[in-house]
């Protein structure tokens, strides 16, 4: 029965990779829910499958079996093209290495996802300025990524993630490449996104300090949640 309070419903997910003749099971019959407006941290050692799980929820990888409902849509049955459109509409991404396009300015990087919407140029500009304002980078909007610090680049990445007003934000080790102070800024910003904008956030981290920012932490080990 559909639970409208949950934005993510993962059921019996299995995922394995083929490495030569060996099959490596990464996720083994995982089931869990994420409530709407939740800030969830998924922790685990390297190779535990936490990034794979995040990729499945975000629709950038496919499970071998099981189903994933995100925002009331079963994404496991979508074609690649439909999945690309679904990601553009529903998911904001924050990566460990920021993944900004180096030939575009901060403003253009944030504008990038909006080109897939039907917004006018003026409408896009308003959204971009609002998003950059939220991460306090209006004055750096014409700078290229190489002209920004790591923390500033990650803030641009957060602005890019929220500019389309997605239902869910996924963050893969968002503080993994930052110094402690910048990491704290980013975590503070993510908490604001969660509390002020009501964004559901799923964050993968191996840093217990980062995980403290989340409301709920789940530990993944050998492809299964530990109690």
């Amino acid at each position: 029965m559909e639970n409208r309070a949950n934005i993510v419903e993962v059921r019996n997910i299995c995922k394995s990779y083929q490495r030569g003749e060996h099959t490596i099971t990464v996720l083994n019959d995982i089931s869990f829910d994420i409530a709407r407006g939740e800030f969830l941290a998924i922790m685990g050692p390297s190779g535990s499958g936490k990034s794979t799980l995040l990729n499945l929820i975000a629709g950038i990888d496919r499970a071998d079996s099981g189903s994933i409902m995100v925002n009331n849509e079963d994404i496991t049955g979508l074609s690649e093209t439909d999945l690309a459109g679904w990601r553009a509409d529903n998911v904001g991404f924050i990566f460990q290495f920021y993944n900004l396009i180096p030939v575009l300015t901060a403003m253009e990087n944030v504008d990038l996802p909006l080109h897939l919407t039907g917004l006018s140029k003026k409408g896009r500009q308003e959204h971009v300025e609002a998003a950059l304002g939220m991460v306090n980078l209006i004055d750096r909007m014409d700078h290229y990524p190489s002209q920004l610090s790591g923390g500033e680049q990650q803030r641009v990445a957060i602005a890019r993630a929220i500019v389309t007003d997605p239902a869910i934000l996924v963050a893969d080790e968002p503080t993994g490449d930052l110094d402690r102070r910048s990491a704290q800024d980013i975590l503070g910003l993510m908490e604001r996104m969660n509390t002020e904008l009501g964004k559901t956030i799923v964050m993968v981290t191996h840093d217990p300090h980062a995980a403290q920012s989340a409301h709920l932490t789940r530990h993944l080990e050998k492809g299964e949640f530990s109690v």
Binding site: T52, R87, N99, P102
Partner: protein, 385 residues
Amino acid sequence: MILWKMIFKNAFRHKLRTALTILAVAIAVLAFGLLRTVISTWYASVEASSATRLITRNAVSLIFPLPLSYYNKIRQVDHVETVSYGSWFGGIYITEENFFANFAVDAETYLDLHPEFVIPGDQREGFLRDRRGFIAGAQLAERFGWEIGDIVTLQGTIYPGNWEFQLQAVYRGRDESVDESQFFFHWEYLNETLEETSPTMADQVGFYLVGVTDPDLAAQVAEEIDAMFENSPAVTITETEESFLLGFISMTEAIIQVIRLVSFVVIAIILAVVANTMAMTTRERTGEYAVLKTLGYSGTQITLLIMGEALVISLCGALLGIVLTYPAASGFRQALKAFFPTFSVEPATILLDLGIGMLVGIVASLVPARQAVRIRIAEGLRRIG
């Protein structure tokens, strides 16, 4: 719009690599353009030929003469308007390196049949009056610095001795396809001299040039002329000027085929150069393409991004190659004016250069684009960091 910006920015991201690739494409396009111009120059005389002119020659071979007595008989054939004749003289000016085509012709009729030779009226009259006079193409006169009134001596090869001529006229071509490197003098001068020195060679011509009233009747007239001399000691073969020139060119067809083949090899080289650049570029940007796909950009948009970048590079190279083709062709013409008197780059060659630039850009990006589109996002993202 943002894709356009990314295309241009990406194309010049690695300035040295892009500059070297553009240079390589430019050199290849330049080589291709020059080779195509050599081929088109080879056929330029055919393009300049007239549909109303027929050439009658000895059926055995062009090197065998025809009797002068055929002249009046050919004139009597229906639909024949003008008949001229001439002989290849094969004279050498100072040394063999100064080669140019020189003919002894029946001056007035020959000029009447070649309205594409533009000659000032007084010079034409001067040439027709002076039996030792000659007419030279503007390019030839310029090559040797000849002025009207200059005496020029040719050393005979077929017709031994030193032959003195006085420049009476300089012709220019009506258009670029007209060969301006030829030398014509009076056949009467040749014949009178032969009557004294080698009587057996006198009263013979190398070819007849026949002007017909209607190009549609050319085949019929040719048949009638050849039928007339079917049982004569010197059997004739008559064909249109175009067929005659094509027959001449066919003797060098193998060379043209080799040049054509080399021109296509050049295209293959450009393709390999651009494909290599695009393969390197795409591999380096796998992570960025994965990010774009993550944000919802489709495979088609990624393909356009890569293809656009390849097109920018290959078209920049093609444009640079085209710009360089003109001075290179001019230098080529100066250096080899004896062999390529009408060496000029045709608009079709430029269009072909541009077409090749586009084709190379598209083809060179196909495999890298396919790889970028097919790679899994998760795998692409792992290439970052």
